[in-house]
Amino acid sequence: MAVFVPTSLEELLTARAERPGLDLVAGGTDLVVEVNFGRHRLEDVASLSRVPELGGWRREGPAGPGGHLVLGSGLTYTEMLDPTLAELLPSLAQAARTVGSPQIRNAGTLGGNLGTASPAGDTLPVLAALEAEVLLGSAAGTRLVPLGEFVTGPKRTALAPDEVILAARVPVARGHQEFLKVGTRNAMVIAVCSVALVLDEQARQVRVGLGSVGPVPIRALEAERFAAEVVDWSTGRFSGGEADLRRFGELVGAAARPIDDHRSIASYRRRAVEVCARRALERTMSRQAA
């Protein structure tokens, strides 16, 4: 077993090209668990923590709509809670806050959440609702893959053996964002289900991402279309009534594809995303008019 500690992206991509499938470890909050359970045997491994190109986040293009935020794959959950970033991507910050304990949030990264691609990955429904793309790099170059194409199944991704996740590229959206996560404990819990809701006032879209209710993060497209009709786009607030909230919840519930497992049962998960979705939409009413 060899451990590589590349200090530049070039070095990392070279190592990955020479040893396709080389294990990558950033915070290790998923990989080490797999190793400890005997489900993964480490051979050669590269540490990502000293590759400066993978850290932090930056703006790309205009500051407002039309621009993008590029979030390095080494961005930790704790860094997602940084007020400057949290103001731009409140739903991502809310999701990050639900991850593990402070120690885990200090270690775990966005790239790790993407690379593991667990159905319960907390940032994934947010990235889905934000219409994020995943920036992948290899010695041969880079490519941008929409999140929906990047996550191909439970714990399966489109990442090639010689590629590395460089960043998530998120369009800047103006509007209310929400993330709600249900777990059987008040903190430090794997999602039983989660709902991300993003209002894009420019595009006049409501976008909904669902977590832990399907093999991959799910967009509730029909519910999104319905919701766009019950938002007052001059204020960016929900303007319908109780029946609309109920209908929205039902449509979100219908989009879910939950299963029974040791964390919950399908019928509860469907109910819970309904409840969370309507609460998320209702909460846009509390937003100050823009």
């Binding site: 806050r97 709600l180 989660s194 040791h262 509860y268 409840v275 969370c276 209702e282």
Partner: protein
């Protein structure tokens, strides 16, 4: 780094003060050596191969490939056990290694020792075991009559308790009686201690072995290990290593025999540390229970009769099931006066994980049921639930349903009154999201959160029961300038090490006493650190040994100076005569001699329950009341326990801070069982053996604990008048939370842990 004081500033020494734990500083600083931190030069790593099946025949075991792996030093199976093939706490019914059949998922089949834990793991993969899976018996009710899965049969014990003139099944006769009925369930709880099973075994040159291990009872481990190794007990020396919590899970042997076998066969030190996952398979759990109850009362709310049928799932091996079911039966009607009782309680074998001791020991399960029944009865009678409990509260001189008269203190009404009198917490007008049900998940809609209040009372026995010869030994040696106390009582976090110092301070008037390490070679058994017994038993033994040593020393000084013995005493660590004409240091008082006194302490004898479940089976009882306040998100079924108020019968407070610690910790486990903690087992297979999926409360789940009263009525016959305080906090806290959730939702919720779907899907 500043240096922390090792002893808190106190204005006096001894019992009733709150000195810091001697091991507290090192634990907080991460410097304390737990059993998993031990190492010896040349040590090998041991690992155990476990059955993936809940029930299977073993057709073949081939260890050749594992033995051939480089770095592997031993591969052992049942064929390599030189002594008894079986071990067990109460009955020897559990194989050291399964050889012909496996009866639960996780049952040990083989063990290896290797140079590195990863090599050991790979060696396990190379052991070929051919299983023929068989249909597991997993329904405890069916187990009562099903074909036996073990030569000893499926029913470990059936207690047929019949008490009073109307003791047979059936509703009592009488005018205006009200009856309520229900069936309740409790899931399988894990003790979830922080420090997984671990130990270090070091062979000696004479065929013996030293085992450093975290356990609750060194001597009973030693006896079981020695029998399996076919060694005389003195060749097996157990030493207490740093224990990271116990809660009953370390009463049974786990790795003790395996590690010693590996060490003796390799002639090398061997270390074993279970992973968290393995720990779930390596120790027993709290018995799941299914309980049918019918309570009958007169129109004034006085209980007339309690009928119950209780089935505890003991899993594949007996562990302490026979004692747990005895408790379940004896305490099945709660701390209430019940003139007539008809209770059938079973502990059965199934192919589910073995269950045994856990904090509360049979009293927890029945409390969730009888307290739910008391609430139902209060509703049926239109009585306040607290008032109903007060009308039936046991008191000293009353008779239990086992026929035993409570001769000690029983301040049941007092704990109920004090707990109920605590002011209710105010609902915050704009609570932060973190304080609402769902916590960090931000799911709550404050308009859909309902508050509920629930009340429960519980009790259990202290010390071992039913005629068990329960004792503790301690030794006090005064030599040179030092006083050394030796006692094999296992410190598992409860604070015995602090208590010993306090006891010795009172006897000698000085805080300089040394507590020797707990081990088996130099002192007799202290009994188990369980059943809330060590303060009474080993505290009593230490007190008696210290007094004997002090009196011996003072007697010698008196004789030397021609004084009568009562003229000489110890003050501030010095030996002084009444008028201080003699005033000696310890060293001077000893005059080159040594004082060494050993004492064995016993509690009052008890008798086994007879064929009607009657008898003076218990020594003493402790009582507690809990009032839970919960907020429930009625749409999502998420619960936030806001506050638990409690009053507890403690006899006498010996260490105020440690009492609070026990109460808070016990409540945490009670809250866990109420709303989240459960080992999920399907067809005998454990589905959540990790802390990712076996959830225990976090700081955000832990309620405010309001100690409304520590009721101090000194217990006659108890050293210092003190009752054990470790278990009562867990007994009725679960029931109180369940009652509060029922109050908030209006749902029956007959099962704990209450899961979100029980609320969210029922509320339709």
């Amino acid at each position: 780094m500043g240096t922390a004081p090792t002893v808190a500033r106190r204005d006096r020494l001894g019992l009733g003060t709150s000195p810091l734990r001697p091991d507290g500083g090192p634990k907080v600083r991460g410097e304390f050596a737990f059993s998993s931190d031990l190492w010896a030069e040349g040590a090998l790593w041991g690992r155990v191969l476990r059955s993936p099946h809940a029930s299977a025949r073993i057709l073949r075991i081939d260890t050749a490939a594992a033995r051939a792996l480089k770095g592997v030093h031993a591969v052992l199976t049942a064929l390599d056990v030189p002594g008894s093939e079986l071990y067990g706490l109460e009955f020897q019914d559990q194989p050291v290694f399964a050889s012909d059949v496996v009866r639960y998922m996780g049952e040990p089949v083989a063990a290896v020792a290797a140079d590195h834990p990863e090599i050991a793991r790979r060696a396990l993969e190379l052991i070929e075991v051919e299983y023929e899976p068989t249909a597991p018996l997993v329904d405890p009710e069916a187990a009562i009559t099903a074909p036996p899965i073990h030569p000893e049969g499926n029913v470990v014990r059936h207690i047929r308790l019949r008490h009073g003139e109307d003791a047979e099944p059936g509703l009592p006769g009488g005018d205006g009686l009200v009856s309520v009925e229900g069936t309740y369930e409790v899931g399988m709880q894990d003790q979830a201690f922080m420090g997984p099973e671990s130990g270090l075994a070091i062979p000696d040159d004479g065929g013996g072995v030293d085992l450093y291990v975290s356990t609750q009872w060194l001597h009973v481990d030693r006896d079981q290990v020695a029998a399996c190794l076919a060694l005389p007990p003195e060749k097996v020396r157990l030493h207490l290593a740093g224990v990271g919590g116990a809660f009953g899970a370390r009463e049974d042997v786990s790795l003790q025999v395996h590690i010693c076998l590996l060490a003796l066969s390799t002639r090398r030190p061997v270390k074993v540390v279970y992973s968290r996952e393995e720990s779930f398979f390596g120790h027993v759990h709290r018995h799941p229970a299914r309980m049918w109850y019918r309570h009958s009362a007169d129109p004034q709310g006085r209980l007339v009769k309690v009928e119950a049928r209780i089935v505890l799932d003991g899993g594949a091996y007996s562990s302490s099931s026979s004692a747990v079911v005895s408790n379940a039966a004896a305490f099945s009607s709660g701390p209430y006066r019940v003139p007539n009782a008809c209770v059938d309680a079973y502990a059965v074998r199934t192919n589910n994980p073995p269950c045994g001791a856990m904090r509360g020991f049979g009293a927890v399960q029945v409390c969730t049921a009888y307290e739910a029944q008391m609430d139902k009865l209060a509703t049926a009678l239109d009585l306040d639930p607290v008032e109903l409990r007060l009308r039936n509260a046991l008191a000293s001189g009353d008779r239990l349903i086992t026929g035993q008269v409570i001769n000690g203190t029983a301040p049941v009404a007092e704990v109920i009154r004090r707990c109920a009198a605590a002011p209710l917490p105010e609902a915050r007008p704009h609570p932060p999201a973190m304080a609402l049900p769902g916590g960090a998940g931000r799911t709550a809609d404050p308009a859909r959160v309902r508050r509920g209040v629930g009340f429960a009372v519980g009790f259990k026995n202290l010390m071992y029961s039913e005629g068990f010869d329960d004792s503790s030994s301690a030794r006090c040696r005064i030599e040179g300038g030092a006083i050394t106390v030796t006692c094999a009582a296992a410190e598992v976090g409860q604070g015995f090490v602090t208590l010993v110092h306090q006891i010795a301070e009172d006897v000698f008037g000085t805080d300089g006493v040394v507590l020797a390490p707990a081990e088996t070679a130099t002192v007799g058994s202290a009994g188990s650190t369980s059943a809330s017994r060590q303060t009474w038993m080993s505290g009593g033994a230490v007190d008696a040994a210290c007094r004997a040593a002090r009196d011996a020393l003072c007697g010698r000084v008196a004789a030397r100076h021609g004084l009568s013995p009562e003229m000489v005493s110890m003050r501030d660590g010095r030996v002084v005569s009444l008028g201080r004409e003699v005033d000696l240091t310890l060293d001077e008082a000893l005059a080159g001699d040594v004082v060494d006194e050993s004492v064995t302490f016993r509690h009052a004898p008890t008798v086994p329950l007879d064929d009607k479940g009657q008898g003076d089976a218990h020594v003493s009882f402790a009582f507690a009341a809990h009032r839970a306040v919960v907020d429930v998100d009625v749409d999502l079924g998420l619960v936030r326990v806001v506050e638990i108020a409690t009053a507890q019968d403690v006899g006498r407070v010996l260490h105020p801070l440690q009492v609070v610690g026990q109460i808070e910790g016990g409540i945490a486990q009670g809250v866990g069982l109420a709303v989240m903690e459960e080992i999920l087992v399907t067809d005998g297979l454990v589905r959540n053996p990790s802390f990712t999926d076996y959830l225990i409360p976090t700081a955000l789940d832990m309620p405010v604990v309001e100690i409304a009263g520590l009721v101090e009525e000194p217990e006659p016959g108890a050293p210092f008048g003190a009752k054990g305080v470790g278990e009562p906090p867990t007994i009725s806290s679960t029931a109180a939370v369940a009652a509060a959730v029922r109050a908030a939702t209006g749902l029956e919720l007959p099962r704990v842990p209450i899961r979100p779907e029980h609320i969210a899907l029922a509320a339709q």
